[in-house]
Symmetry: C2
Subunit: 135 residues, 2 copies
């Protein structure tokens, strides 16, 4: 049993070829929109329905092993859950990268100021990637 199959089983979600392809794609591409997933999977799996992508992405989000990443001026992307991290986005080419930043201090400060109990942090930094910065 490979790790993708395992990922589904561990999360108590039935293993289907379509679901395996979704997690394989996300593993390979890190961040993908619904439509990118659909296009990618259709290549090797022409019969898949867009509704299947939606239903499965939503199911996986509920199970808690994939995550939606909201990005300014782009459709949301989805990624496999991994240790907490932030995202850097190029405003020109749209590229999205993971970055590990320690937000604990900031989160604590926010908790003290607002008296909220903070559970999630979503930080998206937008700017120019090295390539687009160069010209």
């Amino acid at each position: 049993m490979n790790k993708f199959e395992q990922l589904l089983r561990v999360n108590h979600i039935k293993v289907t070829p379509q679901r395996l392809r979704i997690v394989e794609e996300l593993y390979g591409h890190v961040h993908m929109s619904i439509d990118e997933l659909y296009q990618a999977i259709k290549k090797k799996f022409p019969t898949i329905s867009l509704a299947t992508i939606y239903k499965n992405i939503n199911a996986m989000i509920e199970k808690g092993f994939i995550l939606e990443v909201q990005i300014p001026n782009q459709k949301s992307k989805y990624e496999l859950v991994k240790p907490s991290h932030s995202h850097v986005v190029c405003q020109t080419c749209g590229k999205v990268e993971d970055i590990t930043l320690d937000l604990d201090t900031i989160a604590h400060k926010a908790a003290n100021l607002t008296h909220y109990q903070i559970k999630e942090e979503a930080l998206v930094l937008s700017g120019l990637c090295p390539a687009c910065k160069a010209g």
Copy 2:
């Protein structure tokens, strides 16, 4: 000329009653979704069209004096631009609050790590507000 009219003029966007009401509402409520805006404005301005809200919000975003705030599990909210700040959201009641946090250190760290030129920071912290935390 009041400050809302001034805000529109400064941004070279024609002053209309509908636009004045939009910025007045946003000034009063700080964060509003398209539909909240629509419902609020319809009360005193029953003839306004939803399309007018959309067109104007988009125009104002382009002019750069209102901003979209993307929030997990909620429709986007819009706010008047003011000094850079972050947002805290209650996962139970949905309330959104502004919070001033210094992200400069983090942004610089990100720039060093990724070699991106960082231009915008969007931090959304989710959790439980004092009331919902209490039960």
